[in-house]
Amino acid sequence: MDDELYQEQILDHYQHPRNKKVLKDATFQHHEHNPSCGDDLTIYVKIKKNQTLQVAFQGHGCAISQASASLLAEYLNNKSLSELIILPQEKIFQLLGIPISNNRTKCALLCYLTIRQGLQEYQHKNQTKGEYHAKIRNQ
C-alpha cells in the first residue's frame, strides 16, 4: 500500500501507543478535545527530582492525533523541562515525518496544544508562588 500518511510508524504508534497510561503523581496534566471530530486527549507530565520529565497520555481519536501524542510522549521522556518550554510546534511534524494536509493539522497538533496549555497553567500557578523561576534557573 503506497499510502504515505498511513505508513508503518504512524500505524504502529496508533495501534501500539507508547506511554499510554495515567500518571497518578503527575506534576501537571491537561485535557483537550476537538469536539467537531471527537479527538480526545489528556497529557500527564511529571517533573522528576532531577528536573527531567516523564510524559504519558490517555485518549481516543484518529490515527494522526493519537500517534502524534505517542510520538511526543516518547520524544519528551527523560528530556529536561526547558526542552519542553522551548519545544516548537514544527517538532510534531518532524516526529510524524510526513506531510500533513491542512485539514489534518488540527489532529496532529492536538497533543502540542494540550501540553502547551498544561504547561502554561503550571507556569502560571508557580509564577504566583515564585518558585518557578528559581526552578528554571537551577537547571
Binding site: M1, D3, L5, Y6, L11, Q15, P35, S36, C37, G38, D39, D40, H60, G61, C62, A63, I64, S65, S101, R104, C107
Partner: protein, 407 residues
C-alpha cells in the same frame, strides 16, 4: 430507472464530470449539500448578465424584471409546499430561519414554560431553543429514541404537556436518516395543547419527498436551498399567514416598513415585513429554478431507485469486516452512518479521499445525539438521485482498502 436515464441525469450536473488525478469524483455527502444542475447554474449567470437590479424599488425595466423573477420564485416555492406566496419568507438558510423564529416567538415564552425538541436535532434546531429557554428561564425537553432508533412516540405523548409552548423537530435526522411521523406528532401535540406552536426542520426532507404544509398542519417549516440543488446562502421560512402576520419582526430596515417617523415605524405587509434590506435576489431566483428542476424530474421513480440503492449500499457495507451501521438499517432513507472498529472516521474519510470519494466524518452537528448513543464520531454516506451502483462498488472497494491498511 435505466442506466441511460441516470447517465442523462448526471450529464446535467457539470461538477459530477470532474476528475481529480485522472480518477472520477464520487460524491456521497449529499446531506451536507447537493451538487447543482446546469439549469440552476445558468440562471445565476443569466441574472447577473441580463437583469441584475434591486427588487421592489426601481421603476425601470431591469428592476421590474428582477422583481417579477424574484416573486415568481416565491410562488414556485409556495406551490411546492402547498402554501400561499406571502407565507414564504426568504432567509439565508435553515439556520437563519430557525434563529429568526426563536426571536419572533420570544415574547410568547414565560418562566417555566416548556420547549420540546428531539435528541436527534441538528445544532441549528437545538441551540436557538436552548438559548431562548435560558433567556426566559423556560425548560428545554428532549424526546428520546426507541431501541431501533426511531422517535419514541410514547415518550413524546408524555413529554408534551399543557405547558409546552413550542414543539420543534427535524422531519428527517441528518445522522440516523430516521423519518419522524411528522403529521402524527403534530396531531398528538395539538391534542395535548391546542395552542402549541409546531415547527419542522425540513432541511433533510425537502430534497427527497413531497411536503404539504396543509396536510402536516405545522405552524412553521424551514429548509435550505443548497441541500436541494439550489445555491448556498438562500433558504425558506414558511409560516401560517395568521401567525406570521401577528408575530413581531425581529430584523429591521428598508423594505420591511410601511411608514417611519422619528419615533416610530409601522410594518409592511407579508412577506416583506420579514425580509428587511436587499434580499439575496439571485439565489432566491435560482432556488425557484432548483424547485422547478426537481418538479420536472420523475421523482417517484427516482426515489424508488434511491431506496434500492440505499439497500444495496447497506448490504455492501455489511460485507466489510468490523463495520457497524449505526443509522436505521431498515429505513429506506439514503443516509447511512457507520463506524469501523479501531479506525477513526477521519482516517476513513482521508483514505477514501485518495480515491476521490467524498464522505462526511465527525459528529455531523449533532453532539447531543452522539453523546446519547455513546459514540464519539461517525462516518456518514448520503446519496442523491444521481448516485450509481458503480459508485457504491468503488466505495466498497475503497473501504476494504481502509480496513486492510489498519489491519
Amino acid at each position: 430507472m435505466s442506466k441511460k436515464t441516470i447517465n442523462n441525469l448526471r450529464k446535467e450536473f457539470p461538477l459530477l464530470k470532474r476528475k481529480i488525478n485522472n480518477k472520477p469524483l464520487i460524491y456521497l455527502d449529499n446531506a451536507a449539500t447537493t451538487q447543482k444542475p446546469n439549469y440552476v447554474i445558468k440562471c445565476l449567470q443569466e441574472y447577473y448578465t441580463k437583469y441584475n437590479a434591486n427588487v421592489h424599488r426601481g421603476l425601470y425595466t431591469l428592476s421590474e424584471q428582477a422583481t417579477i423573477e424574484y416573486e415568481h420564485a416565491r410562488s414556485t416555492i409556495a406551490q411546492f409546499l402547498h402554501a400561499q406566496p406571502p407565507e414564504i419568507i426568504f432567509t439565508s438558510g435553515t439556520t437563519a430561519s430557525l434563529n429568526m423564529l426563536a426571536r419572533m416567538l420570544e415574547h410568547t415564552i414565560n418562566k417555566d414554560d416548556e420547549i420540546v425538541i428531539t435528541i436527534m436535532e441538528h445544532h441549528s434546531n437545538l441551540v436557538p431553543w436552548q438559548e431562548l429557554a435560558k433567556r426566559k428561564q423556560a425548560k428545554l425537553k428532549f424526546i428520546a429514541l426507541t431501541k431501533d432508533l426511531y422517535l419514541n412516540m410514547e415518550e413524546a405523548a408524555k413529554l408534551i404537556t399543557t405547558k409546552t409552548k413550542i414543539l420543534a423537530f427535524a422531519y428527517v435526522s441528518n445522522v440516523l436518516g430516521a423519518i419522524v411521523p411528522a403529521q402524527e406528532l403534530i396531531n398528538l401535540a395539538k391534542k395535548i395543547n391546542p395552542n402549541i406552536i409546531t415547527i419542522i426542520d425540513a432541511a433533510q426532507a425537502v430534497p427527497y419527498f413531497d411536503i404539504n404544509v396543509k396536510e402536516l398542519n405545522c405552524d412553521f417549516l424551514a429548509f435550505s436551498g443548497h441541500k436541494v440543488m439550489g445555491p448556498t446562502g438562500i433558504g425558506i421560512l414558511y409560516g401560517k399567514f395568521s401567525l406570521l402576520n401577528s408575530l413581531p419582526p425581529v430584523n429591521f430596515g428598508g423594505e420591511m416598513i410601511k411608514e417611519v417617523t422619528q419615533n416610530d415605524a409601522s410594518w409592511n405587509e407579508l412577506p416583506y415585513k420579514l425580509e428587511p434590506g436587499t434580499p439575496n435576489i439571485a439565489d432566491a431566483i435560482a432556488l425557484g429554478k432548483a424547485i422547478e428542476y426537481l418538479n420536472q424530474l420523475p421523482r417517484e421513480k427516482l426515489l424508488q431507485d434511491l431506496h434500492k440503492l440505499t439497500k444495496y449500499t447497506v448490504e455492501q457495507l455489511q460485507t466489510i469486516p468490523h463495520l457497524e451501521i449505526l443509522s436505521n438499517q431498515y429505513s429506506p432513507h439514503p443516509i447511512i452512518t457507520f463506524s469501523i472498529k479501531g479506525i477513526h472516521p477521519h482516517d476513513i474519510a482521508e483514505i477514501l479521499n485518495r480515491d476521490n470519494i467524498c464522505i462526511r466524518a465527525g459528529t455531523h452537528c449533532a453532539m447531543p445525539l452522539h453523546k446519547y448513543l455513546n459514540i464519539p464520531a461517525t462516518s456518514r454516506i448520503s446519496l442523491y438521485y444521481y448516485n450509481t451502483i458503480q459508485e457504491i462498488d468503488l466505495l466498497t472497494k475503497s473501504l476494504k482498502k481502509v480496513v486492510k491498511i489498519f489491519q
